[in-house]
Symmetry: C2
Subunit: 143 residues, 2 copies
DNA sequence: GCCTAATCATTAGCCGTCAATCGATTCCGG
DNA sequence: CCGGAATCGATTGACGGCTAATGATTAGGC
């Protein structure tokens, strides 16, 4: 019955699969792009800062950073002034991915929206933004 | 840069969180509703059939069925005629959830789309369906 | 100046998802 | 009737996400 929810989750699945495919071509996993993007914009952030930026929880970022440290995309270093803080720094390998990955992501965006007219796309973005805002307002109020 | 993809994934996160919250109120986890829905429509399906219906892979259904068997929502039974097949059957507990869960789901749908006009919702559904179709066509062709 | 409270990362454990592999069973060609 | 091929469920291991608990360190109140 819930048409919108079902359609949205179906879209989510296929978009995720496509993004996964595109990122894998660059040696990345699905979610790692987002973490990298946060560091491309500003290097040396803490896990907590990144998590807030990505709208995910801190443990998610910590685990992702673990794997990406292992695979050599970034390094951990504790803050000099506040020893509780850990700062994530890009390696050259991590920085080198920015251009190809952003290109791939723009290509994907363009491909999946290719069948929409300007007006349709504008309406889609607008409506989706409204839904997101509404849902964010609802979250937590129901408990 | 990819506005639509970012907006869509943001919507996904918050919708998922809301759905999770709503299902937890019925003692379910996020994905279990979909499996139950498939069985409400037709009981006694095999894991592979359910997986196809939900557009997920077989291991996903098998693992989910494991947990739901443990929690008493359904039972496994091998097919009489083809001993390779396993069929999933609802228990009374599983059947009893249909009405409250479907109501909760309809409520959620209504709530998140409450701020949209009829026209906006129609446009959203239409555009999203187009994107889904386009993306499904793209999937696999890029490998 | 010390002790408590707040802050931050990490760990542990769960769920949902996938790809890849294994094992068992049925089906079909000869 | 028999053996290989196809089919299908189960298993394994990985990733992304969450909540809750743990541990270390800084900051603040008295």
């Amino acid at each position: 019955m819930p048409e919108f929810l079902d359609l949205h989750s179906r879209t989510t699945k296929v978009l995720r699969a496509l993004a996964d495919e595109a990122m894998r071509a660059n040696g990345l996993h699905y979610g790692q792009h987002h973490l990298l993007a946060a560091l491309w914009r500003q290097d040396g952030r803490t896990p907590g800062e990144v998590a807030a930026k990505l709208h995910v929880t801190t443990p998610t970022v910590v685990k992702m950073a673990d794997r990406m440290t292992t695979s050599g995309l970034l390094v951990r270093r504790r803050d000099d002034r506040d020893n509780r803080l850990v700062r994530l720094w890009l390696t050259d390998a991590g920085r080198a991915l920015q251009e190809p990955v952003e290109t791939a992501r723009r290509d994907l965006e363009q491909q999946v929206t290719a069948d929409l007219t300007e007006a349709e796309l504008a309406c889609l973005m607008d409506a989706l933004a409204k839904v997101a805002r509404t849902a964010e307002g609802l979250l937590g109020s129901g408990s």
